[in-house]
């Protein structure tokens, strides 16, 4: 058994694709029409055959209250790995990305949390070199 897929639930798939590719730098892997929505996944250009991130529509009525409650308390549901949180924080801030937590030492990792503009907070983490 292996893990090949993670998902974020987004309020608008087209906007999400723009953010996750244009701003974060992922590349599109699958884009298949499914009714009114799309089966839409992205991968890291550093690992094109690695795990995919699915940008799933958040239309189910249970999803929005769930997402809003997490965001109000600053809780990221999804974590992405970066080489260096500080560098990524500066790069993304420069692109206008809003952070709810600036880089902070959390023991063995450094983390920061940003808004994906699609209703989610995303945590980035890199190992802390001491």
């Amino acid at each position: 058994m292996r893990i090949r897929l993670a998902a974020v639930m987004v309020d608008d798939q087209a906007k999400a694709l723009q953010f996750y590719t244009g701003t974060l730098g992922f590349t599109k892997k699958h884009d298949v029409p499914v009714g009114a929505d799309r089966w839409l996944t992205v991968v890291s250009p550093q690992d094109p055959d690695g795990p995919e991130l699915a940008l799933q529509p958040d239309g189910h009525p249970a999803v929005k209250p769930f997402k809003e409650a997490l965001v109000a308390d600053g809780i990221p549901f999804t974590q992405l790995a970066v080489d260096d949180v500080e560098t990524e924080y500066r790069r993304l801030s420069g692109l206008g990305v809003k952070f709810t937590q600036q880089p902070a030492d959390m023991g063995v990792v450094c983390t920061a949390v940003f808004d994906d503009t699609c209703g989610n907070l995303i945590q980035i983490a890199s190992p802390n070199v001491k």
Partner: protein, 138 residues
């Protein structure tokens, strides 16, 4: 000057609340001392002093990783409510997010309560006192 400032503050509060200044002071004291009596709540204030304006998520993360305090998120939320009740933190909403800020204002009367000259050695100046007094009188 400090005494005058405090009396003026309490006088203004008294006029607003209809309570005697001493009764008000006692209530404020109880809330502040109760809030500060708990080590986790003091640690929360320490962490907010290091970086002001944190989400609940960041506060919980810092308590776990920096202090080994593995209280539940609900427990931390309740600690924050006690601190807010005492006026020691403020919660400010920014769009969909909630950030917690430390507020040391309720600690100021304590500085002069048992240490009469504390104000003269602190950063507060005559003009600060005047500003505070004007605010209270508005």
């Amino acid at each position: 000057v400090a005494g005058l400032w405090r009396n003026t503050t309490l006088g203004a509060v008294s006029a607003l609340t209809g309570k005697s200044p001493l009764a008000y002071a006692r209530t404020v004291d109880e809330d502040v001392f109760k809030a500060l009596a708990d080590p986790t709540r003091r640690t929360i204030l320490d962490e907010l002093t290091g970086r002001d304006g944190q989400t609940l998520f960041e506060i919980c993360g810092r308590l776990v990783t920096n202090h080994g305090l593995s209280s539940s998120r609900q427990a931390i939320s309740q600690h924050l409510a006690v601190l807010q009740e005492a006026g020691l933190i403020e919660i400010r909403r920014d769009g969909r997010y909630k950030f917690h800020y430390i507020n040391t204002e309720p600690l100021k009367p304590l500085r002069t309560r048992w240490v009469p000259n504390a104000m003269s050695s602190g950063p507060r100046t005559q003009s600060d006192s005047d500003t505070a007094r004007r605010k209270e009188n508005q």
